[in-house]
């Protein structure tokens, strides 16, 4: 008897993870560690727990390669690269969260509206989303910068707005399927208020995976956009470090063969964005598998 009970029991989280292919497990572990590391480094940099003063110049040790004293070397005025990379997380951390928050909140709103009441809101939401999708992000951001001010929060607010369609479309498609399921019908028939059905049965029980994926992808993209803009000179301005403006500053030395100054922050971008991409894709794969 007990055997049957055990067989019928839902697998625990650990068991489910163990059943994953190795590739996905590695990707997930890497992604989660990167996300945790970014949070930790951000907190350290805010609290001032840095190996060196990120602004202290040392003209006797310029363009140094990694050494015991400077773990990741120094830039062209002798500033410690590791400390600057750590402080560089501040350039995207809060703005990135803002952009993710905006895209998820409005994405959920529009997704639910279009998914639950397709006849009433489907068309208007569809047009609104296509409108947002028609504008290339970077171009729109540059226009906003020119019209208003080059503030990184404003920029990533625009990024968040332009990410609404992706989040909304994922949720809408999911809800369109869910709406026809019997337990949603049953909940409605039992007199559960619609807002409760939406919040609990749709968004919490079936949408949180999607939300998590969108958050992960959104954070990776926020980093790429922030660094690109800072590289172009419109985001975070020197002497405040951003991984993007650090790459740009190392340009002249790069072409002369001193590759390290530009490469160190570029690798920080690569490893971080890769982590978010891998995590998002692993989660998405798992979700698609579950739906199939």
């Amino acid at each position: 008897m007990s055997v049957y009970v055990e067989l019928a029991a839902a697998p625990t989280a650990v068991q489910r993870v163990r059943a994953w292919p190795l590739r996905r497990t590695v990707a997930t572990i890497y992604g989660v560690s990167v996300a945790a590391l970014v949070v930790a480094v951000y907190l350290c940099s805010v609290l001032g727990l840095l190996p060196r003063d990120p602004d202290a110049m040392a003209l006797d040790s310029m363009n140094a390669l990694p050494s015991a004293e400077h773990w990741m070397g120094t830039d062209f005025v002798g500033r410690d690269l590791l400390s600057r990379i750590m402080v560089g997380t501040q350039a995207f951390f809060l703005p990135g969260l803002l952009s993710v928050g905006v895209s998820l909140a409005f994405g959920a709103l529009f997704g639910v509206l279009a998914g639950f009441w397709p006849s009433r809101f489907g068309t208007i939401v569809g047009i609104l989303l296509q409108l947002l999708e028609s504008l290339p992000k970077l171009v729109l951001i540059l226009l906003v910068i020119a019209l208003f001010r080059p503030d990184i929060y404003l920029i990533l607010l625009v990024v968040g707005l332009t990410n609404i369609p992706a989040a909304a479309e994922l949720l809408r498609a999911r809800i369109a399927v869910l709406r026809k399921k019997s337990y949603i019908e049953a909940a409605t028939a039992l007199g559960v208020p619609t807002w409760r059905v939406i919040l609990k049965h749709v968004l919490w029980l079936h949408g949180r995976g999607l939300v998590l994926i969108q958050a992960t992808i959104g954070m990776g993209e926020a980093i790429l956009i922030e660094t690109s803009l800072s590289y172009l000179g419109f985001g975070v301005q020197e002497p405040k470090p951003s991984w993007g403006n650090m790459v740009a500053l190392g340009k002249d030395y790069f072409f002369r063969g001193e590759l390290w100054i530009s490469t160190a922050p570029a690798m920080a971008i690569l490893l971080t964005v890769l982590g978010f991409h891998l995590l998002g894709d692993a989660l998405l794969e798992r979700l698609e598998e579950g739906n199939a």
Partner: protein
Amino acid sequence: MLKRVARALAREGMRTAVLFLLVTLAMFVLLSRAPGDPVSLYVNVQSLSPEEVEAVRHELGLDRSLPVRYGVWLGRLAQGDLGTSLRSGRPVAVELWKTGWRTLLLTGSAMALTLLFASITAYLAAMKRHPVVASVLTAIGYALSGLPVFWLGYLAIYIATTRFQVLPLMMGAESEGGSWAFFLVPVVVLGLGNGTVSEVTRHLRTHLEGVLREDYIRTARAKGASLWRHLYKDGFVMPLSSLLANKIPYVLGGAIVVEQVFNWPGMGRLTWQAASDRDYPTLLGVTLLAALVVRVAHVLKEAVQVAVNPQLAE
């Protein structure tokens, strides 16, 4: 089939017209919300008397209500009058015409390269015939998607100049000779480094795996028919056309960065320059043109999909 496609084109064309109207409206609202007196863009306000400023204001139509101004602005837009660049003093339309084709060339070729790389990787991964090659290509795709495109550009320039001595380092306003390497390097950098490679590959692979499980594919395999002939429509044409339309905005954005890295005298550099100078007429023109490109890609995608799958014609 022609009739079907024509109908789809007409429908999507209508939708695009409506959307474009909304895009211009959004742009107009954005413009009118911008801080600063627009008069100061055209004349030096300090050197004029209040009456003269009023006269200029009237001349520019700024004393009329917002809807009227929108109508006038839209009317000018319809005639191709995008205003005058604040920086060069030339009409924005002329500036866009001079630089736009270069950017479209760059973006189009880069997009083609992205899709080619993704197709090969996804096909190998989905067929499970060369697992090692597929894994290596997938890993490269992920690495490329995380690498900032500007650093990739630096690396390409560095390798090309020091190792092969092929690339004239800085591309002047008028390209000398038009060597192929010259064009190829930015295309490769943008095509592989625009940040969408891994996503496009993953999407395509999932799609291909789904199609390969279909009964008709199994039948085709069983009877020894050409797999490609049965696969290409549903497995490649459909997803590639929609990916092309969806990812064009990203690649256009990446073109701004890549043109900056390579001194490519296209629309991206124009955009950068305009953003530095806060030259909004130019930026507005770029935004509208970019939106038009994205919409045209959508219309084409719709036409291709309807041509391939009659069920989508409604």
